[in-house]
Amino acid sequence: MAEMSAAERPVDALDQYRRDAGLSHSELWLRYFEIGGMSNAVELEAFLYGALQPSTHDREVIAQALNERFVELGGNHPVPYAETDN
């Protein structure tokens, strides 16, 4: 499947990944916090639904937390990471 550009992705694309990963919001927040996320659970939820724009770092941590879950389920990092100058 061709990857969608950022503009093409639905605003709640991150929440769709969360649902696919079978994680509740609170479980995802714990995982996100565990690997260095700094925002609280309400803010994280707003990021997932596209109500708030996460910082590049926050976006990276959310992608990492989701991807770790997908790896546990046998996937291979399907969530795109933040578009940084890495």
Binding site: W29, M38, N40, A41, V42, H57, N67, E68
Partner: protein, 390 residues
């Protein structure tokens, strides 16, 4: 409720006894109160951590004790985190005791209006305790956390189904079934506490939703009492009801005459209520009460199965482990920053890259990076030589 596993860990080395900056939080539970004991230095990073832990705990406990006995320093961001959370807790109907704040901390909290919403429990302050706190702004870059920051976010997320969509769907079904089968029911709703605030996750119509909202706004009413106290409340006739003076007239204005609120329990903790409203006084006879109880039990099973309320011990252990892993990752970031001459975000990205190329969890790479410095240090240390005098 007994003390949590983390409290028990205090005796020996634990996830909370971190050497970095000496900051630690112990989460304990005494009766219905969550006790957050903070120790060491609360700078920028640790303030955010305390905020996050606070939010996770307050989701289930509206009675909080913040013990500052072992606090040695608190930055202005730390004060802001405490102040913002204190005001939010008060707005949600919760109570806060701040134990052993120094006089400097008391002054700063008073300036932020916290003294009016929290009980400041002073113990005999030792001079050393007074000396270390709030004498300077140690973190040069204070993160902008405005007082209205959180309420703005909460406003944005209103109406978004929080947490598990499947759970919400099941609760909507319970509402529809109760509405159809409980004799005298003109409207039904389910209130659930999420992020420390009660909200309506399912309602049979807008009037019922408004009815719940009036209770959250006034902080009183059968739905609030059932959700917080875990007991059922029955207002047979609002004409003669005296328990909720602020809420009752609002309900009557919306045409409601009787209310039956039954608590929802997840893992034996009250997390919300099933509310049944009627336009007819004395509508809910014995049979209706039994049916309400059956539906509430079903909804409670759904919430328990979904892990809406993890046990205190589980929550404490998860938060403790999360703090330990965060510190490990921060250490690894520091090592990469030093080694590669890059900034924090880039260092984090490099850890992500490592994780992407393997199937190992992120913290495993962080542990490897940190361990590599230990190996280097060991290798570069001169071998201890033995001296023999003879």
């Amino acid at each position: 409720m007994s003390s949590s596993g983390l409290s028990e860990k205090r005796a020996g080395p634990s996830a909370f006894d971190e050497p970095l900056g000496g900051f630690g939080v112990t989460v304990g539970f005494v009766n219905a109160s969550a006790v957050l004991s903070v120790r060491g230095s609360m700078d920028h990073l640790s303030s955010c951590e305390l905020g996050a832990i606070w939010d996770a705990v307050v989701e289930r406990h509206l009675s909080v004790v913040l013990d500052l006995t072992q606090l040695t320093f608190i930055s202005s961001l730390g004060l802001q985190v405490v102040a913002t959370r204190a005001l939010q807790l008060k707005a949600s109907g919760g109570t806060l005791i701040i134990r052993s704040p120094s006089s400097a901390v008391i002054r700063m909290l008073e300036l932020r209006g916290v003294a009016e919403v929290a009980h400041l429990e002073r113990t005999d302050p030792s001079p050393s305790h007074l000396g270390a706190e709030q004498t300077s702004e140690r973190d040069g870059a204070i993160v902008d956390v405005e007082p209205h920051h959180m309420s703005r976010y909460l406003g944005m997320t209103t109406g978004i189904p929080a947490d598990n969509d499947v759970v919400d769907g099941a609760l909507r079904l319970v509402v529809a079934l109760a509405r159809a089968t409980v004799a005298g029911a003109d409207g039904v709703s389910v209130s659930l506490r999420r992020y420390g605030q009660l909200g309506t996750v399912a309602a049979s119509d807008q009037t019922i939703s408004d009815m719940d909202a009036s209770q959250y706004a006034t902080g009183e009413g059968p739905c609030v009492d059932a959700s917080v106290k875990g007991r059922w409340f029955h207002a047979e006739s609002l004409e003669t009801e005296t328990r909720w003076p602020a809420f009752t007239p609002r309900a009557q204005a919306l045409g409601i005459s009787a209310i039956l609120s039954t608590p929802l329990l997840a893992a034996d903790l009250p997390v919300g209520a099933l509310n049944i409203y009627s336009r007819t006084a004395m509508a809910f006879v014995c049979e209706a009460q039994v049916l309400a109880s059956v539906f509430a039990t079903e909804a409670s099973s759904i919430l328990t199965a979904a892990g809406v309320a993890v046990t205190n011990e589980q929550l404490s252990l998860r938060l403790g482990e999360a703090l330990r892993l965060r510190r490990l990752i921060a250490q690894a970031e520091g090592v990469i920053m030093e080694r590669e001459g890059v900034g924090a975000d880039r260092a984090y990205g490099m850890l992500c890259d490592l994780s992407r190329r393997s199937s190992l969890p992120f913290h495993q790479h962080a542990a490897d990076v940190t361990a590599s410095t230990q190996r280097l240090r060991t290798a570069s240390d001169p071998e201890p030589t033995e001296h023999h005098d003879g």
